[in-house]
Symmetry: C2
């Protein structure tokens, strides 16, 4: 039996009863986070431009664009809602692999739900199944793969295909082929960091997976050996890999339990620096005018990914550990409003950014950092962070996630609707019609 068939069999036979309560709850937390990010991202220029380009190609208005008045068809909704949910770099992260689990799976599933009836329990199980499959494929390949590829663009498409296949009622053969068609669309290299195309790669994973399932539904064929074949996914895209990780414990362990949520709107490797800066600021009442210089000690990988010293715009600033440290010290936070073109060019942020130096320390864990602030009066303060907020070791609470959604949706959805959206998302498993979620996430 090929790996794709093994995953396909799991995807269509998994049941609600077999899933532990903790996994079901974590899935709801993921959805609260995802839908907030999608609404919050919906006013970004990248979304405006995508809608302007693609609305002429919308086949009807069956599906919601979260946070917006416009409507579109299911394939475009999967892309646009996925792009929107990722464009702030604020969505969830499977920390081991850096895959962003919800964007491909939730964006394709909710779009499909507006096309055909789907109750909330089925939606939730399909979501967990899709996340499981993409994360397991990511577990097998992330080692060297992540240096070059966006793993959500490459592995995420399988999650979207599996979840969509399940909700379309495909059989094992069809689902196996859907995973093969997904494989043929695995794409997206890291050169696109700091451009709108990064978010496009993530949204496209949702759309590509849904498309794969729609084609497979008609009997379209692909290679069964898409994952392990000599010219298949792992051999071609992953110089190092551990294929055994894909199916080991399938249906017993749950990758959704490893999901993490960002308190800060940027790449997760920058988060320990931000944590440390906010703690130092608050403990010592630091003001930018008092700071002489700041020294960051981070993992080599963090510096590789976020080493932009003078970011030219908001999107690029998410990949600047210097900018993240500066806004954390000045604003005491690092939300979506800290990574705008305006904040990047603010004089006090520019000045402080220029006084920050970073060094790579191979002794540090990937998600850890030490920050030393030297004041003009000669005093120094140091903070080391090893358990970053949002990680499984130091998780955001359910209330933190609600507050995050509230902040993201503010000014985009009416207040009453935000409250309803939060309540509905926690109750997703009880909804007869999951499109209620989509309706609550649009401004009437």
């Amino acid at each position: 039996m090929t790996l794709a068939r093994e995953l396909a069999r799991y995807a269509i036979t998994a049941t609600n009863a077999g899933i532990p309560a903790a996994a079901l709850h974590e899935a709801k937390r993921s959805l609260v986070n995802w839908i907030g990010c999608a609404v919050g991202g919906s006013t970004h220029p990248a979304v405006d431009k995508t809608i302007a380009a693609l609305l002429p190609f919308a086949a009807g208005n069956q599906c919601s664009i979260l946070g917006r008045h416009e409507r579109t068809d299911a394939l475009h909704a999967a892309l646009i809602n996925g792009l929107s949910a990722h464009v702030l770099d604020f969505d969830d992260t499977h920390l081991r692999t850096l895959l962003h689990p919800s964007v491909p799976v939730a964006s394709s599933l909710l779009a499909l739900a507006e096309r055909q009836p789907m109750n909330g329990r089925d939606f939730l199980v399909a979501f967990i199944v899709g996340v499981e499959i993409e994360c397991r494929i990511a577990n097998a390949i992330w080692f060297a793969h992540n240096s070059h590829w966006y793993i959500t663009g490459t592995a995420g498409v399988f999650g979207a295909a599996a979840a969509s296949s399940r909700m379309l009622g495909l059989d094992e053969d069809q689902t196996t082929h859907a995973l093969g068609i997904a494989c043929a669309q695995a794409a997206g290299t890291r050169e696109m960091a700091g451009t709108m195309t990064k978010a496009f790669i993530h949204g496209r994973a949702a759309q590509n997976g849904l498309l794969a399932a729609l084609l497979a539904q008609q009997g379209f064929t692909a290679a069964e050996s898409s994952l392990e074949g000599p010219h298949g996914f792992a051999n071609v895209l992953a110089p190092e890999r551990d294929l055994k990780a894909i199916a080991a414990g399938l249906g017993t362990t749950y990758e959704i339990l490893q999901n993490s949520y960002k308190p800060y709107a940027c790449g997760v490797v920058a988060h320990p620096v931000i944590d440390a800066c906010i703690q130092l600021r608050n403990e010592h009442q630091l003001r930018a005018a008092d700071i002489e210089r700041v020294a960051l000690r981070v993992s080599p990988r963090a510096l590789e990914l976020t080493g932009i010293q003078s970011p030219p715009n908001g999107l690029k600033s998410k990949w600047s550990i210097y900018h993240s440290a500066a806004v954390a010290l000045v604003d005491g936070t690092a939300g979506e409003h800290q990574y705008t073109d305006e904040r990047v060019n603010a004089p006090e942020i520019r000045a402080l950014r220029a006084s920050i130096a970073a060094t790579a320390d191979a002794q540090l864990k990937e998600i850890a950092a030490a920050v030393t602030v030297t004041l003009k009066n000669g005093k120094t303060h140091t903070k080391v962070v090893e358990k970053v907020i949002g990680s499984a070791e130091n998780p955001m609470s359910d209330g933190d996630l609600e507050n995050k959604l509230r902040g993201l949706a503010q000014g985009i959805l009416p207040e009453a609707r935000i409250a309803a959206l939060i309540a509905l998302t926690w109750r997703v498993a009880e909804l007869d019609d999951v499109t209620q979620l989509a309706r609550a996430a649009t401004p009437e």
Copy 2:
């Protein structure tokens, strides 16, 4: 200046006057071949299934599906016509790189032409420009890339993006970004050989390129360094590469002059064996019943790509040098009717296929072969082919290409329309409205 910018500048500034007559004529030959393949492929089950899956997502009926009654929007037309034009494995080949030049570029351009007015001369120049760009990128990377990837899926998308950008009137910045968005969609591994997904990868290159240009038109951003950057196309997808090949002689030499056309409906590496078998059959009046055994000597690469001994269906039989030899010896040809499920299972073909052995000979050129037939009466006949029909050294004539189109369109288009289609395609540069081509390629 980045490579993408250099290509973008060329893409939008090239003029009809600068292109040699031979290149203009070769482009017309390419279009005759492409449109015939698209019409001929349009009745394939892979096209039926794609239309069934995607027609519910068509935004209107502005664009033709070649060879069919159904109509769709430009993005879907680019995919479906591209898939259709490749599904018989009968389309053109840039022999050095094995890229199939016309599918991405012509399929995206004709779809766009039905969306906005375009005269034939502009269409032809944009086609040549798109082919130039995809083939030059392919020239830089094909060496090791081709073992794993379908180069039309990876490099072809840049050709479609460049040609579409030109016809949308994008400026240099926008076109540079379009090439970046194209890069983010480069995909398609060789594991899909012999499945419908192979043709999907090729059609998707056309659609992905058009989508890239539509997004860039709205100001959507991508990395300028998409081709040569540390996490860009070449570094990630091509372990060996020669980036200098991309821009050397740009605007002076023309890759379209290296295009080749298939007399046989299968991978080009099998063609010398087919040539040799047809010659032996005709010279010695061979009949299957008289043949004891057949020995094929081919390049190692040909055997790697076409080594399926007992193909299970028509699509897989295109990757069986044994099947190709058997139909060539029995039928005296290897057109689209030789690679059907029915022909694969015909008893006389099965029996002959089982008597054929192939060996790899590293001394042979990639596109060369020797065939020895041993008869039941003990006689042997050998034929060596080094200049295969359809190559630049032994090209199909304009008349051959017309006959190929005629054969492909028979039974799909009315006779009078086939004649009109051929005449219109040769006159493409004189057409005020290139949609005449699309109309002539549909059955009213």
